[in-house]
Each structure stands twice: as structure tokens, then as C-alpha cells.
């Protein structure tokens, strides 16, 4: 029973994700593009829940779906505007891009079907507590470096986006 629910949820979320990603490719309006991206990100959060990563699903909704999409929408409003539809959405290199993407897809599917993964059978340990334990003991230094990266990005974004004084 639980396995059936798991399967249905997996296929539902993956069709949602792949469908919205394809709509992102063909959509002519940037605004709708951002909304389809939002659907993709929320669907991925659902997949994270299926993979026993509740904390990451929550972070996905906060950081990606909440903050980044709103930031993208702000920039879209500041530059092209909401209702502008572009006549030409692909540039001249798109054929090369298509060939590269499709060959990478077949290569990766082929190689991941050949690999025999060392599957460890067992329930994922209680995630949030465990994650906090690892993050603040064993991975404390990378954690601090990550906060430094965010600080540098903050300062850099402010410096880049300010107006030049006359």
C-alpha cells in the first residue's frame, strides 16, 4: 500500500517537473517562465519529501521557491516588463545546444544504467537532528566558509547593483 502511494507520488511529481521544465523551454514570456520555474521547484521539494529529506524540502521552498523566484520576478519587472512576449527566443547556436544536451542525456542514461550502485538497505536516520549534528560538528568549517561566501555575495551584489554617483 505505502509502496503504491510512493510510486504514484513519484510519477505524479516527475511528470509535473518535466512538463513544466519543457514549458519553460518553449514559453515566450519571461514572466510565465518564472512561474513555471516555481512549479518545477515546488515539485522537486515534493520529490525531496519522498527521499526522506524534509528539512531540505523546507529549505527548497524557502530559498529557491520563495527568495530566488521573487528576486527573478523583480529583475524581470525592472528590465523587460511583465507582458512583453519575445518574437525570437532561441539564438543561432540553439541547434548545437540541442545536440550537446541530447547527447549528454543519452550518455548519462547509458552510464547510469551500466553502473551497479552499492545500495545500502536501511531506513534513513532521523534527518533533522542528524543533519544538525553533522553540520555543527564534523562539517563546521565548511559551514562557516559557506556563510562567508554568502556575505561576499551580498556585498558584491550591493556594489554591482548600486547606481553610479553623478
Amino acid at each position: 500500500m505505502a509502496e503504491g502511494v510512493f510510486q504514484v507520488a513519484f510519477y505524479l511529481f516527475s511528470t509535473l517537473i518535466i512538463g513544466s521544465a519543457l514549458m519553460m523551454v518553449i514559453s515566450r514570456s519571461l514572466f510565465y517562465n518564472a512561474l513555471f520555474l516555481l512549479v518545477v521547484l515546488l515539485g522537486t521539494a515534493g520529490i525531496y519529501v519522498l527521499l526522506n529529506a524534509e528539512f531540505l524540502a523546507a529549505m527548497q521552498i524557502f530559498v529557491y521557491a520563495g527568495a530566488l523566484t521573487v528576486l527573478l520576478l523583480f529583475v524581470i519587472m525592472l528590465t523587460t516588463g511583465r507582458f512583453k512576449k519575445e518574437a525570437k527566443i532561441f539564438h543561432s547556436q540553439s541547434v548545437v545546444g540541442f545536440i550537446v544536451a541530447i547527447s549528454l542525456l543519452f550518455l548519462s542514461l547509458f552510464s547510469l544504467n551500466l553502473t551497479s550502485w552499492k545500495i545500502v538497505v536501511g531506513e534513513t536516520s532521523h534527518t533533522l537532528q542528524n543533519l544538525a549534528n553533522f553540520l555543527f560538528t564534523q562539517y563546521a568549517l565548511p559551514f562557516e566558509i559557506a556563510s562567508l561566501v554568502l556575505l561576499v555575495a551580498l556585498i558584491g551584489a550591493i556594489w554591482l547593483a548600486r547606481r553610479e554617483e553623478e
Binding site: L22, L37, Y48, A67, L68, T80, F134, G156, L160, R163
Partner: protein
């Protein structure tokens, strides 16, 4: 029965859609969106590895947190650069920004 391969296949398809979009869209903001999609696909693979290969020491999830941090920084800086380009060139189409192209 859903196995690790299903999740990895989903990640691979999503990554390749993102790659195609990032290589062939004309608008810089759309390209940033597809970059976000690609890192999202990588995160999905990492988290599925975390469930199926290291379920006790959830390394994939920890790595995914750092990937999220770097993506947030990248998108923030990238959008600031897009605003700069728009302010000086009045366009967000990538093939109209060809000042350095020979």
C-alpha cells in the same frame, strides 16, 4: 518499485533540459533560470544518493545544503550583473551584448 535509477534518470532529464535552455535561450534572465534548474537537478541526484547509498551518514544532504548556498550566491550576483548590463546597454538579449566579441 522505485529504485535509485528512477531518481537519477529524473535528475539527468532535468539537467539536460536545463543545459539545452541555458545554451540556447536569448534572454539572460531565462539563462539564469535554467542554471537554477540545472543545480536543482544535481541536488536531486545528491539527495537520492543520500537516501540509497549513505542513509546513516547523510552526506548527500549535507552536500546539497552547500550547493544551495552557492546557488543562492550565484543567482544574486548574476542578477546584479544583469541589472548592470541593462543599465548600460538597454537590453537583456545575450546576442546583442557582443562588445567583446571579435
Amino acid at each position: 518499485m522505485i529504485t535509485l535509477n528512477h531518481f537519477l534518470t529524473l535528475g539527468a532529464i532535468l539537467f539536460c533540459i536545463g543545459l539545452f535552455g541555458a545554451l540556447s535561450k536569448r534572454n539572460i534572465i531565462a539563462i539564469m533560470m535554467f542554471l537554477e534548474l540545472m543545480t536543482n537537478a544535481v541536488n536531486l541526484s545528491l539527495i537520492s544518493f543520500s537516501k540509497y547509498i549513505t542513509p546513516i551518514t547523510i552526506r548527500g544532504q549535507i552536500f546539497a545544503i552547500f550547493v544551495m548556498v552557492v546557488t543562492a550566491a550565484e543567482i544574486g550576483l548574476g542578477l546584479a550583473i544583469v541589472l548592470c548590463i541593462y543599465r548600460s546597454r538597454e537590453t537583456t538579449q545575450i546576442d546583442e551584448v557582443n562588445l567583446l566579441k571579435w
